[in-house]
Amino acid sequence: MIQASPCLPRWNQLVVRMKYWNKEMETLKGEELHALQAKRLRWTVERAGNVPFYQKMLKEAGVRPEDIQTVDDVQKLPFTRKTDLQGGYPFGFMAVPMKEVVRIHTTSGTTGKPTVVGYTRQDLDNWSELIARNLTMIGLTDEDIFQNAVNYGLFTGGLGFHYGAEKLGMTVIPSATGNTRRQIEMIDDFGVTALHCTPSYAMHIAEVAEQIGTTLPTLKTGIFGAEPWSANMRKVLEEKLGLTSYDSYGMSEMYGPGAAFECPERNGLHIWHDMYLAEIIDPKTEEVLGPGERGELVVTPLMKEAMPLLRYRTGDITMFLEEDCPCGRGMKIARLHGRSDDMLVIRGINVFPSQIEHILRSVPEVGDEFLVYVDRVNHLDEMTIEVEINRNAFRGELEDLTRAQNKVVGALREALNLRTRVKLVEPDSLPRYEGKAKRVIDRRGDEL
């Protein structure tokens, strides 16, 4: 047996610094990478042919799978938008028989119905692999204890990270959200080393921990995502919680979280190039942009079986970073801050103003106009909606107003899974627009 020399760094320390989950895929470069991407792109286009929407779209565009020879051939394909997915509700975009679909998740749609995403067993496996790569990349191992403080259930954040962390062999505490004191008690009692939640919930945990008087000494890694967070917020979170934090990006249409993730350099997020073909476009002209140019992220997943998507417009604004990453992995995108559409992220939940409108229109007591205010109160997002009343639906009793208000709050909670404040206002008291209506006033700014 070979004895380790006391003068040299221990073998396992070296490994920790350089650890990859799937080194071959993570560090694939140049021609080899392009060949793999082209092959998988062609495969995806073939599969998409099983979906009536794509069959028609490809026919109209005159593109056959054989036309996809190189990565750049992706530009021959038309874009897919969120509203297209809406049209396929519920199973119109599945490319496999339902027998092969082992999981359903849903995400906010742009109107009343949610967007449905399906997964085959292989899809779940691919997704878990991405999360395992991410966690390994930031130095976590099967010895870590991982508290997953995000919503479980239909939201992809909870189960996505749960499966990935399990794959890596971590000890998973499926704490979900809520009961902050209990969360803190568990971090201390179980010696939790890594925490996953939204940045705003992390801030809340930090504050309550301060009140209780614990410094959460075991916590060393924070994984924050599902909503944008600033560099300033990162600084405060790291100070308060005494950890190193990493940004996570993804969306249900791309399996879920984990599609892109920060490495220890913490200068941009690696978007996993063997599973996603990423482009940046000008959202107005749809022209494809190069590294360093900010635009909308467009993604073609390369290995999705149940629900292939071609050139999916994420609505997220970012850019490719020009420099190679010292960690040896591939393409990076900048941290995400803006949207090309009007989607709002409220406490980690995506909300479209069109969705709010759709819900309000279904309540007879609601009049013609509404106005949404978004604020940050004690680090948590608050949405307040001013709603004009419909006089015809009232007899003039005060209790009618209370009932109507509760009804609106209930309808919004039911559809958005979000608690909102509703203020009823007089008819004709809200601004009217001649051009594009501006029904959302986001007052969160960049404050914490």
């Binding site: 082992v102 359903i104 849903t106 259930g153 239909l154 909870g158 000890t171 499926p174 179980f190």
Partner: protein, 388 residues
């Protein structure tokens, strides 16, 4: 009949008993050698692994009770190395600290396997769309059934609890064929459907319900089956055993407790002695292959009886009758276990109230409602007293 694992499920009884004995023997040796807690218990009790010479000798081993788990908080009685643990679940404790259950990969695997067999025995399979409407997270119901349904290849809709109208919308739109939830929540879904003008019988594809986590009766089963036009199966399990694990089979005549997973005894709760098959008593369970948190002769507190006669379905594993009560004062409110001592503990933390209280439990519509009447602490209230 389709069985998930015919080799095990249809195994002749004698062979099954041999297997159980072997597993028990391994378990006892392992715990005696590697667990301080069990070693000391066995020594105190004057029993050595060599004393276990046949399956019936299980009665020589000491009982384990809920407070043993609580006193071990959080991981004092775990027998797996920390890096082997892959999951924690946490359930409400009788006072203050909760009960923590740790799992190794093998523990999760056995739990999932148990449910895969159970769900298959209810007739579910790849073609089904299963809505899991138990709470996900620290509660074992959601993730347990999620993993079980995934293993049999069904399409899982992880709906979790709440938002009943959305649950109904999903049930219709996603062509859900089976739902897993508490019986009272299913009744609530039924009422909500009626209010919305939806008939579960005619307007959905629902045909199976896996119901548990709270007591329910055969009358309730009949009513649910008739009103909703489905088959309803009982599911049993507690987080100490791993989670929900066993269900009725297609015969709906008690749940099979897989012999290679669990060794069941029914005892007289007063004397601690076994009662004859078919007679009611407290269920005591030994989980034969649990790695992280071994469970040996665990007193579940549940009153039931055992039936070892052959089942029409062909499965040879013993059947446990629907639970008929509790030995202790535990209440089950909307699937959550509540001990009066827990309520007391919570109230003691509030200086404004005294320790005198009364719990009243109602059923409002289909859902349980708990009302706690509390006396104010006269020394603490200043001028105004409020009640809520």
């Amino acid at each position: 009949m389709i069985a998930w694992d015919p080799n095990i499920e249809l195994m002749p009884e004698a062979e099954l008993k041999r297997m159980q004995f072997k597993l028990l023997k391994i378990l006892v040796y392992r715990l005696y050698s590697f667990s301080n807690f069990y070693h000391n218990r066995m020594v105190e009790h004057g029993v050595h692994p060599d004393d276990i010479t046949c399956l019936e000798d299980v009665v020589k081993l000491p009982f384990m009770v809920k407070s043993d788990l609580r006193d071990g908080y959080p991981d004092k009685i775990f027998t797996a190395e920390p890096e082997e643990l892959v999951r924690y679940h946490v359930s409400s404790g009788t006072t203050g600290k909760p009960t923590v259950v740790g799992y190794t990969k093998h523990d999760l695997d056995m739990w999932t396997e148990s449910l895969a067999r159970a769900l298959t025995s209810c007739g579910l399979g790849r073609g089904d769309v299963v809505q899991v409407a138990y709470g996900y997270g620290l509660f074992t119901g959601g993730l347990g059934l999620h993993y079980g349904a995934e293993r049999i290849g069904a399409t899982v809709v992880p709906a979790s609890v709440g938002n009943t109208e959305r649950q109904l919308e999903l049930m219709q739109d996603l062509r859900v064929t089976a739902i897993c939830c508490t019986p009272s929540y299913l009744a609530h879904i039924g009422e909500t459907a009626t209010k919305m003008g939806i008939s579960i019988k005619d307007d959905t594809h629902l045909k199976t319900a896996i119901l548990g986590a709270e007591p329910w009766s055969d009358q309730m089963r009949e009513r649910i089956e008739e009103e909703l036009g489905i088959k309803a199966y009982n599911i049993y399990g507690t987080s100490e055993l791993s989670g929900p694990m066993f269900t009725d089979c297609s015969e709906q005549a008690g749940f099979h407790m897989w012999g290679d997973i669990a060794l069941v005894e029914i005892i007289d709760p007063e004397t601690g002695l076994s009662v004859p098959d078919g007679e009611r008593g407290e269920m005591v369970v030994t989980i034969l292959q649990k790695e992280a948190l071994p469970i040996v002769r665990y007193r579940t507190g549940d009153i039931t009886s055992i039936d070892r006669t052959p089942c029409e379905c062909g499965r040879t594993h013993p059947r446990i009758a629907r639970l008929s009560g509790r030995v202790d004062d535990m209440l089950i409110i909307r699937g959550i276990n509540v001990f009066p001592s827990q309520v007391e503990h919570a109230l003691l933390g509030i200086p404004e109230v005294s320790g005198n209280f009364m719990i009243e439990v109602y059923r409002v519509g289909a859902l349980d409602q708990m009302l706690v009447k509390v006396e104010l602490n006269p020394g603490h209230s200043r001028t105004k007293s409020t009640t809520s």
